[in-house]
Point group: C2
Chain length 203, copies 2
């Protein structure tokens, strides 16, 4: 699937200017003038990144962000925010947005962030699909994380894992969250599917 920078902003001038800037850096763009318009074409399989303005008529940027997040969006999201909306942008950051940029902004800085977001997306997609990269990902886990992962893959409850490894449940949660992050997954199902070709397992 072709990777695009998806530009969602109801200000035509800004969107066009951004599009021009990014395409001059070799980045393919697609523009949408409203959150609703983008949501209608969004799918979990999209590749690239999302550049999302906070203030829009109709559905706002944060609202779109939340909806996409609930639906399992994996595109890195860069928030465009005015000076007064930084708290809102920080909130999105805390919810997993890739970054935020205040308007008006330095052109090169924004383009660089977009390119970096595209790279991140590519890396995550590669990790999700390539067995060789999966081995690399597994090797990047600490011993503890690997032990937790093995048990997550057998469907055990956190408290059972905690009991077996003689650690607290909170620690299991910490390792679990970290290993999901390193493996580029959000759920145990995804992890199981990622490792489906690894029948021997990491153990």
């Amino acid at each position: 699937m072709t990777a695009y920078a998806y530009l969602v902003d109801d200000d035509d001038a800004i969107r066009d200017s951004l599009s021009w800037l990014l395409e001059s850096r070799g980045v393919a763009c697609q523009g949408y003038s409203s959150a609703e318009e983008f949501l209608a074409v969004w799918s979990p399989a999209l590749a690239g990144c999302l550049v999302l303005d906070i203030r829009m008529d109709g559905m706002s940027g944060p609202e779109l962000f939340d909806i996409l997040r609930e639906r399992g969006n994996k595109l890195p999201v860069i928030i465009l925010t005015g000076h007064g909306d930084v708290p809102m942008a920080v909130s999105a950051l805390k919810k997993g947005a890739f970054d935020f940029v205040e308007k008006p902004c330095n052109d090169n800085e924004l383009a660089n962030r977009v390119i970096e977001a595209l790279k991140l997306d590519e890396t995550q997609r590669l990790a999700a699909s390539g067995n060789v990269s999966v081995n690399t990902l597994i090797d990047s886990l600490t011993t503890r994380e690997q032990q937790v992962m093995e048990r997550v893959l057998t469907g055990k409850l956190n408290k059972v894992i905690a009991d077996e490894l003689r650690i607290s449940m909170r620690t299991v949660e910490v390792h679990r969250a970290k290993l999901f992050e390193k493996m580029g997954v959000r759920t145990a199902v995804e992890l199981a599917q990622l490792l489906a070709g690894k029948r021997g397992g990491p153990g």
Copy 2:
């Protein structure tokens, strides 16, 4: 892996008598005189069924049952119970035990239950390991169950699935529980692994 009827009862006479009975019906048996003894050799990969007395010194039958259940035990469990312990046995039934039998009991009746439990275990193991049988399992699902399963496999939250299918979250839960039962799995991870050879998915 060889399937056994695992007999856990601290009464030697009963255990031996049971063992004799079942082996005369062609069922391989292994006996344990305490819950602790059996727990020490238990593994999720055991095949067969468990015949478990309620009242034992040290760890009780229900205690063992709960521990095994938490650890993902799949063996069907038949509870042996005295006349006064029926409520305890019923409680285990509600937690997923296969059946309970009151002592003293009709020999053929107990043997029949054990044989049936062994068959169930075999069926479940076959379902969990054979791609042909997996197709059969998928075909046994209702349309709604299949729709829910597709979305469970993408890691979506129940409330997101409910939104997409325009039904209540409770209904998603109902379908989810039913499809897990039909597919012979207990968790979404197990389901994902079961379907790992079905890259096209049920959709």
